[in-house]
């Protein structure tokens, strides 16, 4: 089944497979480092469940669920967190 970033559980490490979506937002996500192979995990969700806070490449980014849903990911085994563990 296709898995997307918004579907991950909190703290569950995964890798980016593909960034879907279109337009400026897609470019922005690519520029921010969502490229295939990048490790990413969800740090927390905002009180209403949206937006979500994710960790990638040693920094933290917040984005809405519907935008996170354009990022296709694959879960990775082990308990190691995303790159920095910050």
């Amino acid at each position: 089944m296709k898995m997307t970033l918004d579907m991950l559980k909190r703290g569950e490490p995964a890798r980016v497979v593909n960034v879907g979506g279109e337009g400026a937002l897609r470019f922005r996500l690519l520029d921010l480092g969502f490229v295939p192979g990048t490790e990413v995990k969800i740090i927390r969700r905002a009180p209403f469940g949206d937006p979500i806070e994710v960790m990638l490449r040693g920094y933290r980014l917040t984005l809405r669920q519907k935008d996170a849903a354009t990022v296709e990911v694959i879960k990775i085994g082990g308990t190691r967190g995303a790159e920095d563990g910050d």
């Binding site: 009180p47 949206d50 809405r64 694959i74």
Partner: protein, 719 residues
């Protein structure tokens, strides 16, 4: 942009150095450290909303340093990011200081790969190295220098470490190229001569910046450790094809005045603007398309993804080789500040605390002291003038005009400065970004994005700053709606009005009353947002993608800088607009229509003018010409309102004009009516349409009248 406006003859000979970096990487801190100027620096992505420049004297001449809005790439996403790209392409600075946050270098270095494409000499400033060291991290500066082929300087902008070195390095790099040296072969126009791109090696893309072959090994060994699922040769394929594209479009790019490498990269990613500017003929267009198809076929990725992947591979390789991870965690308050149950109570508590401390504890006390001091000074001045036999009319002008007006405003300086202090602490620590995160869902309901919270909160300080800050919003609609809502956030200049009325008419509940006025403004903003959502549906929903910066302790230096600046602005207003308004009001109220001096203000010119307007306000409870005149002068600056009232009411005080009910109505009216001239100008500028601005302001005025009417009627019933 200020740069073009202040371009003097000096600036022409100066070396122009631009600061480029991600949002929140410390560009503005570096700019401040180098120029000693009080730019606003926050710990919120996107504080620099427009370019700003200043001239710096150096040993060997002058340097014009330009601070540009933070970007993540050179493909603009928001209006402020466009400023950066336009500046770099159109104005072509002589050199670039690329600031990279060393605590998370990958994203910064990704931008570096894009900046290098511009063919402008670059010096890398590795910022926040103090934090990296404190947290047990390490960066091999020499290795990084070799890998990127540009000078790298480790700095700590907030402590002022290494800042001079980085500027000197940038000026030197710029001068080396300008003096005709060939040390930086990537300068536009010298590609062919330098012959750098003749070899077809995998790293050709970065060779323009690498002078020794040894470096390429570093790039390859790191960059090509492939991740699963991606072709191992994404990077070399990309470099090869990018090179090919550059050859295809080279002459077109030169004709269009674009850096060829940059143009080639963006053409591959089908950036519409660049492709239009290149004006490729049919053959070249097809050749370009063929290149893109080849890239996509070979990498198995679409062009945009391939491009970003290749660059990140290069960057990851460098990072793995030269950057050792930090071992210690950062100080983190998010467990509480973003906790599901606590986040909103904390937000409410923080805001309440800010207002309570400002209006009651700190600012309130200081303001009382200031009032006493102003009163004493003014008495002293009058006494001295009497002793010196100064003409009574002049004494009147000074005492009842200048001193009364300016003094009334000056005594509120502590309140305003205190509020700015707290707002800036919220920004410096990183709490504003958290506020945006937790407020996104509620604001989304109103058709806004969490990002709007920052301009809106800044609106409590100054509408002009707030309107400017709305440029960080990505869509036109978000920007417009936010700009229209900013006037509902009661600005700092209105504080004196509320403080005066509240303490005069409701001395025991003044803090509560002032807080209610702010809350009332916010409530009306929410209602307006809901209405605007209907009126301006907009096809695109408000977007929200925002970096969450680490918590940082605000530095005293930064805060003192800001406070000095804000106090300076307030004082210059008090002694500028308010002084002029006070003298004008005194003059107009001391002479009658036959230009004879009169001691009965009721006979004065101002009274005559005010009486024309006064009937409009009669249903609101303050149909007095003095109130009308005060509101009129408030159009220039809100501080002038109480200055005018002080001059006009004299010893009788505002009690002679207002009742408790009409005081409430007057406060509501000042909360909602047309903002000051400076704010109107910037609102007009940001909305980009005089009609829209006029409609917004007109609606605001009608709204102010209606709301004040109901407030007055309700107050009559209950008070």
């Amino acid at each position: 942009m200020q740069k073009t406006a202040t371009k003097s003859s000096d600036a022409k000979n100066a070396v122009r150095i631009a600061l480029v970096g991600n949002q929140n990487c410390g560009k503005t801190t570096l700019y401040n450290a180098l120029t000693g100027k009080n730019r606003r620096v926050g710990n919120y992505p996107g504080v620099t909303v427009d370019g700003e420049s200043s001239l710096i004297r150096l040993d060997g001449g002058e340097c014009e340093l330009v601070d540009l809005p933070g970007v993540y790439s050179l493909r603009p996403y928001s209006a402020e990011e466009r400023v950066t790209r336009e500046y770099l392409l159109r104005e072509r600075p002589d050199g670039i200081i690329n600031v990279v946050d060393a605590t998370s270098p990958a994203r910064g270095l990704y931008l570096t790969t894009r900046v290098l494409d511009l063919g402008i000499p670059v010096v890398l400033a590795l910022n926040m190295m103090d934090e990296v060291k404190a947290r047990g991290g390490r960066v091999d500066v020499c290795g990084l220098e070799d890998a990127l082929g540009v000078p790298v300087v480790a700095i700590s902008a907030s402590h002022g470490d290494g800042t001079e070195e980085v500027l000197n390095a940038a000026v030197k790099a710029a001068n080396d190229v300008n003096s005709g040296g060939t040390r930086e072969p990537e300068r536009v126009g010298s590609y062919a001569r330098a012959g750098v791109y003749d070899h077809s090696a995998a790293a050709a893309h970065y060779d323009g910046h690498v002078r020794h072959g040894k470096v390429r090994r570093g790039i390859k060994s790191g960059g090509l450790n492939a991740y699963g699922g991606v072709g191992a040769d994404t990077y070399s394929t990309y470099a090869e094809i990018a090179d090919e594209c550059e050859n295809i479009i080279y002459t077109n790019a030169e004709n269009a005045g674009l850096p060829p490498k940059f143009a080639a990269m963006l053409a591959i990613e089908s950036d519409g603007e660049v492709i239009d500017a290149l004006a490729l003929d049919k053959n070249k267009r097809e050749a370009l398309d063929e290149c893109v198809r080849k890239l996509e076929r070979k990498t198995g990725l679409d062009a945009a993804t391939a491009s970003a992947s290749a660059r990140y591979k290069f960057v990851d390789g460098i990072c793995r080789k030269y950057v050792s991870q930090m071992t210690k965690k950062r100080f983190d308050l998010d467990v509480a500040a973003l906790n599901g149950a606590l986040a909103y109570p904390i937000f409410a508590l923080v805001m309440a605390l800010v207002f309570w401390l400002t209006f009651d504890v700190v600012g309130g006390r200081l303001s009382e002291l200031m009032t006493d001091a102003c009163g004493a000074l003014s008495e002293l001045a009058v006494h001295l003038m009497r002793e010196a036999n100064v003409h009574p009319v002049l004494i009147g002008a000074v005492a009842d005009g200048v001193l009364a007006g300016v003094g009334a405003v000056l005594s509120f300086l502590p309140l305003v400065v205190t509020l700015f202090l707290f707002l800036s602490v919220l920004e410096d620590t990183g709490y504003m970004a958290r506020a945006a995160f937790i407020m996104d869902a509620p604001l989304c309901r109103l058709g806004l994005s969490g990002k709007s919270i920052v301009p809106l909160l800044l609106g409590f300080g100054c509408s002009v700053t707030a309107v400017m800050a709305s440029r960080t919003l990505p869509t036109e609609r978000d920007r417009r709606v936010t700009v229209m809502l900013v006037p509902f956030m009661s600005c700092g200049a209105k504080i004196p009005i509320y403080a005066l009325f509240a303490s005069y008419f409701f001395p025991r509940k003044s803090s509560l009353l002032i807080f209610s006025i702010y809350a009332f403004g916010v409530l009306l903003a929410a209602v307006s947002a809901a209405v605007l959502k209907r009126l301006m549906p907009g096809n695109a929903e408000a977007e929200y993608v925002l970096e969450l910066p680490g918590w940082r302790a605000p530095t005293a230096k930064n805060i003192m800088r800001l406070l000095r600046r804000r106090a300076g602005e307030f004082l210059s207003r008090a002694f500028g607009v308010v002084l002029l308004a006070s003298v004008a009001v005194w003059t107009l109220s001391s002479f009658d229509l036959h230009l004879r001096l009169t001691y009965d203000a009721e006979q004065s010119i101002l009274a005559a003018a005010g009486r024309i307007l006064a009937p409009v306000f009669a249903p609101l409870g303050f149909g007095d010409w003095r109130a009308a005149s005060a509101l009129l002068t408030g159009l220039s600056a809100k501080e002038a309102v109480i200055g005018t009232l002080a001059v006009l009411t004299g010893a009788g005080g505002i009690g002679s004009v207002f009742t408790r009910a009409s005081a409430l109505s007057f406060m509501s009216f000042t909360l909602l009516y047309t903002p000051c001239a400076a704010a109107v100008t910037s609102i007009r500028g940001e909305l980009g349409s005089a009609r829209l601005a006029a409609a917004a302001l007109g609606a605001g005025l009608i709204n102010a009248w209606c709301v004040s009417f109901f407030v007055y009627r309700a107050a009559l019933l209950f008070l």
